[in-house]
């Protein structure tokens, strides 16, 4: 039995400790917002936060998450209202949408660490996430927009 806190909720998971966290989250906890894309830490579709840091859950063993705090896309905000989520909606970022959970989770760490990212900062932080629909231009614009929204939110 491995105890993991996911989106603030404690779970005792009865599974092989070698199972990638991705499949434990999806198949056992039923949180399907985190996606399988490559199984090799190449595409970023499976990105979640482990103690606040971005990790590729497809290549992270369940045992690594024991006793740790995991946040998935379902836990990014209470009501789809993280500045990034608001910006994504405002700027119509997703097309098929499959990679967007991972994009948002990567962008959330960037924005927390760097509230005013430059284009170069965005390239550096986001180049691990593939979008086959090619929404990069909008992701970039939406991250800048989210930074604005966060600043406005902080002032008000």
């Amino acid at each position: 039995m491995i105890t993991v806190t996911v989106n603030g909720q404690r779970h005792d998971i009865d599974a092989d400790p070698n199972m990638p966290l991705l499949w434990a989250i999806r198949d056992i906890l039923g949180l399907t917002g985190t996606k399988y894309g490559c199984g090799a830490a190449q595409c970023g579709a499976c990105t979640v936060h482990l103690n606040g840091e971005s990790i590729r859950s497809c290549c992270t063993k369940l045992s690594r998450a024991a006793g740790q705090q995991i946040i998935t896309i379902e836990g990014l905000s209470a009501n789809n209202n993280h500045p990034l989520q608001l910006a994504w909606n405002e700027m119509n970022v997703p097309q098929c949408g499959y990679c967007q959970s991972g994009q948002l989770m990567s962008a959330a760490v960037l924005l927390r660490e760097n509230p005013n990212p430059t284009d170069q900062d965005i390239d550096d932080a986001m180049s691990g996430n593939i979008c086959r629909c090619g929404t990069y231009q909008r992701i970039r614009a939406a991250i800048h927009r989210a930074a604005d929204l966060a600043r406005e939110g902080a002032k008000s």
Binding site: A15, D16, M19, W23, R26, D27, I28, G30, L31, T32, G33, K35, Y36, G37, C38, G39, A40, Q42, C43, A45, T72, I73, E74, L76, S77, N80, L84, Q85, W88, N89, E90, N92, V93, P94, Q95, C96, G97, Y98, C99, Q100, S101, L104, I122, D123, D124, M126, S127, G128, N129, I130, C131, R132, C133, G134, T135, Y136, Q137, R138, I139, R140
Partner: protein
């Protein structure tokens, strides 16, 4: 206002479902000789089932049954946007459900050929306006006032003089009993309140909090997971397999041989059934399978292109299109061009790998998945398993990308066969490696262009293509010419150039191939527009002036003007490279101007892409822009970073590390402009792709003097 008659072979059917709702739908009947309306009662008597594209309930809520898939192209937004306009309801009052596969009800459901809007918008406008008029008529009758004093707005019918109003929900019972009007007035484009507005997509909120259900997210009670080891050379047969190690993996329950039908061939695999995706994948990894790979050619990529070149140089091929006498002109001309272009095999590589949930229940089977063609799957499964078509229920989820691959019927068939074997619902998950190594692929195609110039004028164009034909592979139509040989090439060229010919030199081999976004235009467009750019150079003409001269069509002229205006064409700088290309794809024309410069490390940088789309009548300009932006990125990858290659019949690329997708730092700035006109609607999801690459390579030529005729090429090594 203008009237809009229903197109031939379509008639509207109206029904009141037990008096509780107003349901409207279109039906395409092959037997209907002319447009006709049939009343609900008649429809019921003739046993015609209502398809209920639009259902308005007594609560006033509108339910739209979307017969096409949503794979990123945005029809989940644009279809209701059309309906809301003419029905006069608010977007928030429209609920969408995905139709199940059934082409008797919906007609063709294949989401391909960029056809969702262009194939249905006239019907949708007419249908919505008809419902609106019936609701207005019902309200007028209730009040005992003339229809002319009433109008519809935001889901209500209002009586202008008195200000009285009925909610649609209060009218549906009465309206459903009325005769549908034979003709209705449709709005002019200038009267649109929703159509042509960049409204936000309604699926976006679902895609920012993890809520959207893709195929892989579908779960059923008691569902098991399967992973399948398939022949690495696609057509290999199982000699033997050892599952000892696989069965030791905790969670693995069963291992057996499974077949997957692909048109008239069968592919073999070994299925591992487990209680989690991971256990199934680990079990698959632990299998030892011995394959019999005899009886078919084991392909090597260099041999493919050597053969293409040989065919293009030695064979005239099968004529596809011909006007004038190309060969005679080429023979007597002194200023000629002769060039070969090569395009690579491509994986669709949708972000959501293939997967399918199936539940076989004897005389009934139900399927869920990321599916582009639910009606094809229904017919296919019904035929292969001898189950009545109505007992094959095919449900579409959101698709995590499709690009043509998910219109294939192999992966649902395999899932059904596995469910049948284990007697419970199953989700078959393809790993990225399965998805990338199994195909089918966009075929790599080579082209030869020959042209002549006399007195500064293009006098002859001769094009030949050599490559696998999708149709041949599917249906064994070997020996027939590829009638898509001129796809992508603009039709007005035929009016201005006297001698033109297109031929197909058939090239057959056992690798599976399939439509890939923009289909033949994706490779044809590169060859033909590259060649036209080279011809312009030979004629000493400016790229845009050359297009103006040969594309006399009025829409093309306006498109060219727009390209010139938005790209600042006349103010091009000295150390910048500019390239142009214009292609046609699925009844839309797209022109692109690409600007490049040298990076400090010597590589090529794309500074800007300007794209102008003429898709005729359109719904949502922001969705169009997004589709073109994305098409440019997809084209960029196929041109510069990824290709599928084969060695001894094995696919060499297994995952993204070997098939490098463009990433954030590679994405160019793309500005998209949509032409405004009321011509028939063209496609949106694909036409933005073909012109990018020939415009890019021309820009690189403009900057460096280097011609690129073989894809992919390395932008850092030009």
């Amino acid at each position: 206002m203008e009237t809009n008659a229903i197109s031939r072979r379509n008639f509207i059917r109206v029904s009141g479902l037990a008096g509780t709702a107003l349901c409207l739908g279109f039906y395409s009947s092959a037997n209907a000789k002319e447009d006709q309306l049939i009343h609900a009662a008649d429809a019921e008597k003739s046993g015609i089932q209502m398809n209920a594209w639009i259902n308005i309930g007594t609560d006033g809520k509108v339910t739209l049954t979307d017969h096409r898939a949503e794979m990123g192209q945005g029809s989940y937004q644009s279809v209701p946007q059309i309906i809301a306009e003419e029905l006069e309801v608010d977007m928030k009052d429209i609920n969408i459900i995905f139709a199940q596969g059934d082409n008797k009800k919906y007609g063709s459901q294949i989401t391909g050929g960029s056809s969702t809007i262009r194939g249905s918008y006239k019907n949708l406008l007419k249908l919505s306006a008809t419902a609106r008029e019936m609701l207005i008529a019902a309200a007028a009758a209730k009040w005992g006032v003339p229809v002319s004093e009433c109008y519809a707005e935001s889901g209500n019918v209002l009586h202008k003089p008195s200000g009285k109003k009925f909610h649609y929900g209060e009218l549906v019972t009465d309206a459903s009993k009325l005769e549908a009007p034979k003709e209705v007035q449709l709005k002019k484009a200038s009267e649109y309140k929703l159509i042509r507005k960049p409204l936000n997509r309604r699926d976006t909120p679902l895609k920012t909090n993890g809520e959207a259900t893709f195929g892989l997210d579908k779960k059923l009670p008691g569902m098991l997971y399967a992973a399948v080891e398939r022949s690495p050379r696609q057509r290999g047969k199982i000699k033997s397999f050892d599952d000892t190690a696989a069965k030791k993996i905790p969670g693995v329950q069963k291992v057996f041989k499974v077949q997957m039908a692909v048109f008239n061939t069968n592919r073999e695999g070994v299925a591992v059934i487990a209680n989690s995706t991971w256990a199934a994948i680990e079990g698959k990894k632990a299998l030892r399978v011995e394959w019999d790979d005899s009886g078919f050619e084991h392909i090597n990529t260099p041999d493919i292109y050597k053969k293409h070149e040989e065919l293009l140089k030695t064979s005239e091929g099968l004529s596809v299109k011909k006007q004038g006498d190309v060969d005679a002109v080429l023979k007597q001309s002194t200023k000629t061009l002769d060039a070969i272009y090569q395009t690579p095999y491509q994986s669709h590589a949708a972000m959501e790998p293939l997967n399918c949930v199936a539940h076989y229940q004897g005389d009934k089977v139900e399927i869920w998945g990321p599916i582009q063609a639910p009606d094809w799957i229904q017919a296919d499964i019904s035929g292969r398993l001898k189950i009545p078509q109505e007992n094959v229920i095919v449900n579409m989820t959101f698709l995590g990308g499709g690009f043509g691959r998910k219109a294939f019927m192999d992966y649902p068939h395999e899932a059904v066969m596995i469910s049948k074997e284990i007697g419970s619902p199953v989700q078959v998950v393809w790993t990225r490696e399965d998805d990338m190594t199994q195909g089918p692929y966009r075929a790599g195609v080579s082209y030869r262009g020959q042209g002549a110039i006399d007195n500064g004028q293009v006098t002859a164009l001769k094009f030949k293509m050599a490559g696998q034909n999708i149709d041949h592979w599917q249906t064994d139509k070997r020996g027939q010419a590829n009638d898509s040989a001129s796809e992508g090439f603009l039709k007005p060229y035929f009016d201005s150039i006297k001698n033109i010919s297109f031929a197909d030199v058939p090239y057959e081999m056992p690798l599976p191939n399939m439509w890939w976004r923009s289909v033949y235009a994706s490779t044809n467009g590169f060859a033909y527009e590259s060649f036209m750019n080279e011809m312009a150079g030979l004629a000493g003409k400016d790229q845009l002036d050359f297009r103006r001269e040969y594309l006399k069509d009025e829409r093309c002229q306006r498109l060219i003007d727009k390209m010139e205006e938005v790209s600042g064409w006349k103010n091009r700088g000295k150390n910048e490279g500019y390239g142009v290309a214009i292609t046609e794809c699925f009844s839309s024309t797209v022109g692109q101007v690409v600007k490049v410069s040298r990076k400090s490390n010597g590589g090529i940088k794309i500074d800007h892409v300007w794209a102008v789309m003429d898709c005729g009548w359109y719904v949502n300009p922001d969705i169009i822009k997004a589709q073109v932006e994305g098409s440019v990125v997809m084209a960029l990858g196929a041109a510069t970073t990824h290709e599928i290659t084969f060695k001894d019949g094995l696919t060499e690329q297994r995952n993204f590390y070997a098939y490098q997708m463009p990433r954030m730092n590679d994405a160019p700035v793309v500005d998209v402009y949509v032409m405004d006109n009321n011509e028939d609607a063209g496609g949106v999801g694909e036409p933005g792709l073909p012109p990018f690459t020939p415009a890019l390579t021309e820009a690189i030529f403009d900057l460096t003097g280097k011609r690129i005729r073989k894809l992919p090429f390395n932008m850092n090594a030009v």
